[in-house]
Point group: C3
Chain length 201, copies 3
């Protein structure tokens, strides 16, 4: 089941990358590259920081192929319906949850402190999007005032880490933490919950 969710996460991240690239008027190489960066950027940083080799997309060698096919297939659709980005909210939230909790879990397994595990969870869940924004020459939307995103990931990672002593099965604990991230994220979008922006002159 985790494998299935991870696959969904890769697919939805890659789709976001495709949409971002097409908004920036890139060609196919740009669309494919951006889809790769958004889908694999966060996990690659996590693997490099923790010295985990082979990197997850080199180990699961079919992931880049899936992204390639996705970029290729969507290329034949001249104009993506605007509703695509709305439909993607759910898989994106799922991806955020799964990548974050798996990231925190890998970090703990490498013997990091709790705080660092939570940080690496957030990096895994969110940095693909940051890289995509930076490459497309936009200030990352993650850092601007917008419905909570990194915060949902951070809170979910702490729930996962702190629930360790609770005597429930590991898979259940994983699913609970992922669900918490997803519910937080969907709530933040629905009620437009955001952090205040700093005003400086």
């Amino acid at each position: 089941m985790i494998q299935l969710i991870e696959l969904l996460a890769v697919i939805s991240s890659a789709t976001f990358g495709v949409l971002l690239a097409r908004r920036s008027k890139l060609d196919f190489v740009g669309v494919f590259s951006l889809a790769l960066m958004v889908a694999f950027g966060g996990g690659t940083l996590r693997d490099l920081f923790l010295d985990r080799h082979p990197l997850f997309w080199i180990k699961h060698a079919h992931y880049p192929v899936i992204v390639f096919v996705l970029a290729l297939v969507t290329s034949f659709i001249p104009r993506l319906p605007a509703s695509v980005s709305k439909v993607l909210y759910f898989p994106d939230a799922l991806g955020l949850g799964l990548f974050s909790i798996v990231g925190a879990d890998y970090a703990l397994a490498s013997g990091t402190s709790w705080f660092i595990a939570a940080l690496l969870g957030v990096v895994t869940g969110t940095f693909g999007g940051v890289i995509g924004d930076v490459v497309c020459n936009e200030v990352p939307s993650l850092f601007r005032s917008a419905p909570l995103y990194a915060t949902c990931s951070f809170v979910g990672c702490w729930l996962y880490i702190l629930s360790e002593p609770i005597p429930i099965s590991e898979p259940l604990r994983l699913v609970a933490a992922i669900s918490a991230v997803v519910i937080l994220r969907l709530s933040a979008i629905h009620w437009n919950i955001r952090l205040p922006e700093f005003q400086e002159d």
Copy 2:
């Protein structure tokens, strides 16, 4: 001979970095930094992704010195002739070919899948330029519609990978694949072959 081409590749990439930096009105530190990033960016990512240590420019410690001397010498030329970028097309295409095929070769040697080897070949051949563009605050020209660049690298890597069963000597196979990239790239420039750009609103 490979060493000679690699040296040429480092020199021509670094020269591109110098030209890019001077167009962005940077000072000597900026010129040298950008030359380093363009010349070593792609190969560094490849080495980090494949966990190859020491990195190629730490191992071949004279490469950074060459880039330094190049940045220094060109600093005394107040205004580079516009024709420099035209003269550079050939060494740049050679660099693209060599870096790409060597990158794919290293990846295969590390036991990656074919598709990933081709991807890492493209990363090695092209990412120095992408990093240079991002740092100079431009949307990478690699991703926009322009004469084929990454595509030439990708095709050449596949030729190299798929020709493995053919009973010819390894050096010949290397040279053939590099030549294919160079010829593709020069043809793309000459006939202005490019991928279509996506139009989205």
Copy 3:
């Protein structure tokens, strides 16, 4: 004492990150992320390039916590006084000096050449700021004409490396090289010493 200066270096880099983020009108997630990148960016690159694991901020797990508290505490100050950036010149120069010399020292210990040790010293001392600028969508100020910054780091690293045969104690040699960077940097600010900018059309 080195531990104390390193702590000061992390704190002052993080404070610069906070100021940069607030000028770019980011929210708390952005402020914290940028503070992390500016404080840890250079050292992380150095550790990845030299294959040093665990990364320094994973090993010294209290550093990210300090940055978090700093970002949190400054969030309650609605408007930071403009004089903060002036007061920061000294700890920033101290941070530049310490990070640079420690970086060069780590590189030498890994067996790199002198030139590469000096380069990695500069990367360690300056790249946090470069990453911060790139993320905030500005051409890195490091690369533009401004009072000498990377140059002070480079000179100090060479002083440290070349003074190795001099029969003085290692701590004294470290302190002398760090002081050289600090004095150079403060002099560059005071007398507005800068490299010329290239003019190209």
